[in-house]
């Protein structure tokens, strides 16, 4: 349907509505809904909204069209009028969504203070303690333990990152754990010099 045909058809339906022709009006509203769905859907998808939201917006526009139909002058073209309403409703809809999103993710000051104060302090202390424990390990083992046990990387990724085999990473991890267990023993264990261990990894 070309723009002129659509203008002709919908304008005619709007005039029929004035005379009380419900069937013509209903047919036109359905066509308008289809066209709106097709043109607004992709736009909303682009800003991360789904089919559900686009259907909500289509309904909003139809209600607006119906509620404000007396502001359309039958002597004037219908499509520019509809376009202005669609545009207004789209902007209003996005504004509402933005506000809702802000309310949903907004952080009250108290929560914010909690985040920046105590838990951060604890986390800092914990990571400092981990560092202290790992200090007993040679550099190569420390790297692997940190990656797998602290940062939570997979054995495969670590192996790829260090350009070795998964098996070698596993063996090193085992050795490191044994050493850490030994280090946490109350009995004082003498640490051999680091570079010596680095040799037989």
């Amino acid at each position: 349907m070309t723009v002129e045909e659509r203008e002709q058809r919908w304008g005619e339906a709007m005039r029929a509505e004035l005379r009380g022709d419900a069937a013509a009006y209903e047919r036109m509203l359905k066509e308008v809904a289809t066209v709106l769905r097709r043109s607004l859907g992709p736009r909303l998808v682009r800003v991360g909204l789904g089919a559900h939201e686009s259907e909500d917006l289509v309904q909003e526009i139809l209600i607006g069209l119906h509620a404000k139909r007396h502001t359309w002058d039958p002597a004037r073209p219908f499509l520019p009028w509809l376009h202005a309403i669609t545009r207004y409703k789209l902007i209003d809809f996005m504004r509402h969504r933005r506000r809702e999103t802000r309310l949903r993710v907004d952080l009250p000051l108290e929560d914010w203070l909690e985040i920046v104060e105590s838990p951060a302090d604890e986390a800092y202390r914990a990571s400092w303690e981990v560092d202290r424990h790992l200090a007993v390990l040679p550099v190569s083992q420390r790297k692997i333990v940190r990656a797998i046990a602290v940062e939570g990387a997979s054995v495969r990724n670590v192996a790829r990152g260090l350009a070795t085999s998964e098996g070698a990473v596993r063996v090193t991890l085992h050795r490191a754990i044994r050493r850490l267990l030994g280090a946490s023993d109350p009995a004082p264990t003498k640490l051999p010099p680091r570079n010596e261990h680095d040799k037989h990894r």
């Binding site: 509505e17 009380g20 404000k68």
Partner: protein, 209 residues
């Protein structure tokens, strides 16, 4: 899908039920009503000029009436434009007679009336009185505008402020003692600008639909 179809069916069942009178006639009635309100306020609160009969035939009064009249007519046209989606923006030219009149009033002022008025309080009382007199118009026209479909609520509110200020100023001409065209052009214009700003703020909040 189905809920939209239901919605369409219920909307269609209301086909042909005719709604309120056209916006144009509603605005005309409101304009007259708000001018009457403002005139009542002038008579009861401010009081018309002592030398009214003598003053009414001289040029400055004619200028005041022409200026506020041009503003009221122009702003009415623009209010209708703001209330109608997809209307032609040429409606904005309706304000040009008022703009031209005010420019002429400032440039070719034949009265030698001081721009800041004869007394210290002239400006404040003139602007304050116009703001006061335009309040009923503002409320009434906002009510009418809620029946329209303003797609730019901020702009629509500003134009409503302008129209109500011009109605208030028109009523104030009966009381205004400042017989200088430059004074009138500047300070009546300032009152209009203040009302337009207030209207924009209110419209942004009130005129959503």
């Amino acid at each position: 899908m189905t809920s939209t179809d239901d919605l369409i069916r219920s909307l269609a069942s209301a086909a042909g039920t005719r709604r309120s009178a056209s916006l144009r006639s509603a605005l005309a009635v409101t304009g007259v009503a708000s001018l009457v309100c403002a005139l009542l306020l002038v008579f009861s609160v401010i009081g018309i000029r002592q030398d009214f009969a003598e003053m009414a035939v001289r040029m400055p009064f004619g200028f005041k009436l022409a200026y506020t009249g041009a503003l009221a007519v122009g702003a009415s046209v623009v209010v209708l434009y703001a209330a109608t989606p997809g209307a032609s923006a040429t409606a904005l030219y309706a304000l040009s007679p008022a703009v031209i009149l005010s420019a002429l009033g400032v440039i070719f002022d034949p009265t030698a009336f001081p721009i800041m008025g004869r007394t210290d309080t002239a400006v404040a009382s003139c602007v304050g009185a116009i703001l006061f007199l335009s309040l009923p118009a503002m409320i009434l026209i906002f009510v009418v505008m809620r029946k329209g479909a303003p797609t730019q609520p901020l702009f629509a509110g500003a134009v409503i402020g302008l129209l109500s200020a011009s109605v208030g100023a028109m009523a104030y001409t009966l009381a205004c003692k400042n017989d200088g065209t430059a004074f009138v052009a500047i300070w009546y214009g300032a009152a209009c600008a203040i009302m337009a700003a207030i209207g924009a703020v209110v419209g942004h909040r009130v005129l959503r639909w």
